[in-house]
Symmetry: C2
Subunit: 190 residues, 2 copies
C-alpha cells in the first residue's frame, strides 16, 4: 500500500488493520510494531496513532474486525440445531487457521481495550449466535444455557489457542465437544 500519490491515504484505518493482521500472521505477536505497520502501509510513523490512538487501539481494531468476520462465517442456517452448532465451531476453527493474524489478538483480552464499544458489540455477536443455536438444540433455563454456551465456546477457543487440534481429528473432536455439551444440557433440563 506504499504506492500512493495522494497526500491523504483515503482508507488508512482499513489499510492499517490489513497490514497489521498481515504482520501478526507473518512475525507473530512478539514482533508486532506500530512502526512496521506504518511502514507497510506507506505512511509516516505517527499516522496510525491519529486513527487508533495507540498500539493497544490498533490491536483492538484488528480484533474487532476479526470478530466481525467470524460472526459472518458462523451465520450457518442449514441442518438441525446440533449440526449447526457443530458447523459454527468448525467455522471458528477454520477462521483461526485462515486468518492467523486476526486470531492472534482476538482473545488476548489483556492487550485490548475491552471497553471499546465496537469491540464489545462485535465480540458478542458470534457468542450470541452460538447461544441461540444451543437453545434450539436443547431447551433449558437461562442459567443452564449460559453454562453450556460458555463451556462449548471456551472449549473451542482452548482447542485452537492450545493447538490441540490435529487437522485430521479436528472435526471429530469438535463433534465430541458439541455432543458432550448438548447431551448434558438435555439431561439437565429434563
Amino acid at each position: 500500500m506504499a504506492n500512493r500519490d495522494t497526500y491523504h491515504h483515503g482508507a488508512l484505518p482499513q489499510a492499517l488493520i490489513r497490514e497489521g493482521a498481515g504482520l501478526l500472521a507473518e512475525k507473530g505477536l512478539a514482533s508486532f510494531s506500530m512502526r512496521e505497520v506504518a511502514r507497510r502501509a506507506g505512511v509516516a510513523v505517527a499516522a496510525p496513532s491519529h486513527h487508533f490512538g495507540s498500539a493497544r487501539g490498533l490491536l483492538t481494531g484488528i480484533a474487532t474486525d476479526g470478530f466481525a468476520q467470524l460472526a459472518e462465517r458462523m451465520a450457518t442456517t442449514a441442518g438441525s440445531p446440533e449440526d449447526r452448532a457443530s458447523a459454527m465451531c468448525r467455522a471458528y476453527v477454520a477462521f483461526a487457521k485462515e486468518c492467523p493474524g486476526h486470531a492472534a489478538v482476538m482473545f488476548q483480552l489483556g492487550l485490548l481495550n475491552q471497553e471499546d464499544p465496537a469491540f464489545i458489540q462485535q465480540s458478542s455477536r458470534a457468542f450470541a449466535q452460538l447461544s441461540a443455536t444451543l437453545a434450539k438444540a436443547a431447551p433449558a433455563n437461562a442459567a443452564k444455557l449460559s453454562q453450556a454456551t460458555r463451556t462449548l465456546w471456551s472449549a473451542v477457543h482452548g482447542l485452537v489457542a492450545l493447538k490441540m487440534l490435529t487437522p485430521k481429528e479436528a472435526d471429530e473432536i469438535i463433534s465430541f465437544a458439541v455432543r458432550a455439551v448438548v447431551s448434558e444440557l438435555r439431561r439437565d433440563s429434563t
Copy 2:
C-alpha cells in the same frame, strides 16, 4: 530484592522469575520489560540475559515455573475419579486466580520457547494427570480418551482465559463441563 551486599546475587534466576511474575501480575503482559525485572531484582540490565538468554527465555522460565506449581496443586487423590477430575479443574482455576502473573504467560505459546525441554516436561505433567484421572472415570480407547482430555482441558483453559467464570458460578460450570465430558466419554465407550 535490591538489598544485596554481595557481588553475586546467589539465586538470581529464581528471583527473576519471582519479580517477573510480580510485574506481570501488576502491570500485565503489555508492560512487561526485562529492564524493569532487572531493576526490581536489583541487578544490572544485562544480568537476566545471562541466565535466560532473552525476554522470550525469561517468559518461558516463568511459564515453566507456573506449570510446576500447577501440577503440584492438581495432584489430588481423594474421592471418586470424577470428583478428582472436578477438583483438578477447580485447582486450575484457583491457580490462575492466585497466580495471575504466571497464568498470564503459561498459555501464550507464541511468546514462549515451546521447544524448551524443561517447559515441555512441566507443561505435560498436569495434562497427563487429568488424562489419567479421566481414564479411571470412564474406560475408553486411547483416541477417545485423548479427545475427552483435550476437550476438558481446553474448556477449563478457555473459561479462565476468556474470563467466563463468575466466582459465584465457577464450581457449577466446572461441574457441568466435567459431567458433560465424562458422560460423553462413557457413552462413546459402550
